[in-house]
């Protein structure tokens, strides 16, 4: 369905065309100030994280949380985090990168193909299948963890990278988005013309449609990237070997060393947890900054239509 326009404004407008695409109204200072206040709220916890990353264990407990201590040691903390236990943190970051990138690209391609299939072809049960996928999102996955584990164990997937990657490849939201996007972005006439030229369906998809789907694709890549990057519960259950941990599970295991108490507990892990947290979100933020042009247009299509 498309956006309905109120009748009053849909009347044809006479007069000269506007010189710029959008009339640029006067800047509003109160609005700018209000929005910066909101911005401050959203950045406050991150500021705390940055400040805390410069502190040693004692200062974490004894100095004011939102300002630096007299002896900042960000570099020392970073060094401690990346060298602890033979550099296992770097390994976790690389694992996360691997899981997230493979999952994201794989999920986007699978969703693009399926979305294109659902949008441009009619076949038996297509609507039912599509609804099934969307409906499946609504059952919470936490309690499915054990059944999934038991099934994965049967085929020897537990404690491997695949146990994390495979489930992330299926992204129902991605499918939804790509279906909506493909509907508009790939005109039927283009497909028809290609067919008349004798191109096979696969070639039409890979050679023509995929390029038109690029912004939607990037959007799915980014959102799967975030989902996999932030995934905690599934890898926690699936992985036993710390060498395979993604960074979320690794950080949580460090935090547990400080928070569980008992023999072997140490609060010395807290600065590492804090600094590690900071390091772990930097790559994602950068990815979003670099790719923002694409994902916004991709989202626009997904949200205007249903």
């Amino acid at each position: 369905m498309t956006v309905t326009i109120p009748a009053a404004t849909a009347a044809p407008v006479a007069g000269p065309p506007a010189p710029v695409r959008r009339r640029r109204p006067r800047r509003s200072t109160p609005l700018t100030i209000a929005m910066f206040a909101a911005l401050a709220y959203f950045l406050l916890p991150l500021f705390w994280l940055l400040v805390s990353s410069t502190k040693n264990t004692q200062d974490l407990f004894t100095t004011f949380g939102l300002w630096f201590s007299h002896s900042p040691q960000l570099l020392a903390n970073i060094e401690a985090a990346v060298t602890y236990d033979g550099g296992v943190f770097v390994r976790w970051l690389l694992n996360t990168l691997l899981y997230a990138v493979v999952s994201a690209v794989g999920a986007a391609l699978l969703a693009a193909a399926a979305g294109y299939g659902f949008a441009k072809f009619r076949f038996r049960g297509s609507t039912a299948w599509f609804n099934l996928v969307i409906g499946a999102v609504m059952v919470p996955t936490t309690a499915l963890a054990i059944p999934t584990y038991l099934l994965f164990a049967q085929v020897g997937l537990v404690n491997t990278a695949w146990a994390v990657i495979l489930p992330s490849l299926v992204n129902p939201f991605g499918l939804f988005l790509m279906r909506v996007y493909a509907q508009d972005a790939v005109p039927d006439q283009v497909i028809e013309a290609a067919r008349i030229d004798g191109a096979g369906e696969l070639r039409i998809f890979a050679g023509i449609a995929l390029r038109m789907l690029a912004p939607g694709l990037v959007t799915v890549v980014l959102f799967t990237l975030v989902a996999t990057w932030n995934n905690y519960f599934l890898p926690l259950i699936m992985l036993n070997d710390p060498k395979l941990y993604p960074v979320t599970v690794g950080l949580a295991s460090w935090a547990a060393q400080a928070q569980n108490g008992g023999a072997g507990a140490s609060s010395e892990m807290l600065p590492l947890v804090v600094t590690g947290s900071l390091l772990s979100i930097v790559p994602l933020v950068i990815a979003f900054l670099l790719l923002q042009r694409y994902w916004q247009s991709g989202l626009a299509a997904g949200s205007v239509k249903q």
Binding site: V3, F42, W48, K120, V139, L144, N230, Y232, T248
Partner: protein
């Protein structure tokens, strides 16, 4: 609207198959397995027995489960309007062109979405601290009473804050992207008709946003009713407030991992899924009807 000729029917299947096969293997099979498990009962002494729908009968009268569902429903009613209204206001403000440095603000508000909930809970947990949290310290310094964020009274609000912090930006971006795709001629027309900024927002932008709003609302239904990560991660800081059945999903988790009642946990998950489906379709139905009027 679609290219429906006899030949490419099979091609459609071809494109859909890889996704659907994985969906079947990785989503539906565990789901089916869990459904199967929900028909059994396992006891430490006595082993596994088939109990039919007994688990379901038990769950619908289980006060802990019902309390958990009620709590996430309350959370939904409090948090989602707040989050979506904020997201909407921010999106409209950014789209109005009335403010300076809009790009910076837009990205800044969106950044929390990229922060793992593990890290978000760590940060907010510290900020909420009753003795050494910065808010409490500032409050003491200025002799202003600061709420005890982690107490029973405030917990739902504190959780709402964390979840809103994480997702306002995400929803804002969806709404903002939808606004950007509204044809500029509409604005021109309205301006010529003498409509002010508020009038344009109300008469043109809001109707244009309806599909996007319904979408964000649906995501919020799922997110709220499945609420798990944030309460789970704040639990160590407030064990007296966040109990094992605080949210319905947390209850399912506790049953599976603490109580070793995998079968009953599966039952609870399915029922929760059912609640979510019902609420979601309720909203879809309502929004479609209103549009038809």
């Amino acid at each position: 609207m679609s290219v429906v000729s006899a030949g490419p029917r099979r091609a459609g299947l071809l494109f859909v198959t890889p996704f659907m096969v994985l969906f079947l293997l990785l989503f539906l099979t565990p789901l089916g397995y869990a459904a199967y498990l929900s028909l059994f009962q396992h006891k430490l002494i006595g082993g596994t027995t088939f109990v039919g729908l007994d688990n379901y009968a038990k769950a619908v009268t289980d006060p802990q489960f019902l309390r958990g569902v009620l709590r996430v429903a309350t959370f939904f009613v409090i948090q989602v309007p707040l989050m979506l209204v904020l997201a909407l206001l921010f999106a409209l403000a950014l789209d109005s062109g009335l403010m300076r440095l809009a790009r910076v603000v837009r990205l800044g508000i969106f950044v929390p979405y990229a922060v793992p909930s593990v890290v978000a809970a760590l940060m907010w947990g510290y900020l909420y601290g009753p003795d050494y949290g910065p808010f409490a310290q500032l409050g003491r310094l200025l002799h202003v009473p600061v709420p005890r964020f982690l107490s029973e009274t405030w917990m739902l609000g504190s959780l709402s804050n964390v979840v809103s912090w994480e997702f306002v930006g995400y929803n804002m971006i969806i709404l903002y992207a939808a606004l950007r795709s509204v044809s500029p001629e509409l604005y021109e027309a309205a301006a010529v008709d003498g409509a002010g900024a508020w009038r344009i927002a109300w008469s043109i932008k809001l109707p244009a946003l309806r599909p996007a709003l319904v979408l964000t609302l649906l995501f919020s239904v799922i997110g709220s009713f499945q609420l798990f990560n944030e309460p789970k991660l704040l639990q160590p800081l407030a064990p007296d407030v966040i109990d094992s059945g605080f949210t319905a999903n947390l209850y399912a988790y506790s049953l599976a991992f603490t109580g070793q009642q995998v079968n009953y946990a599966a039952t609870v998950s399915f029922l929760l899924g059912l609640v979510i489906v019902a609420v979601s379709y309720g909203f879809l139905f309502a929004s479609n009807r209103r549009r038809a009027v």
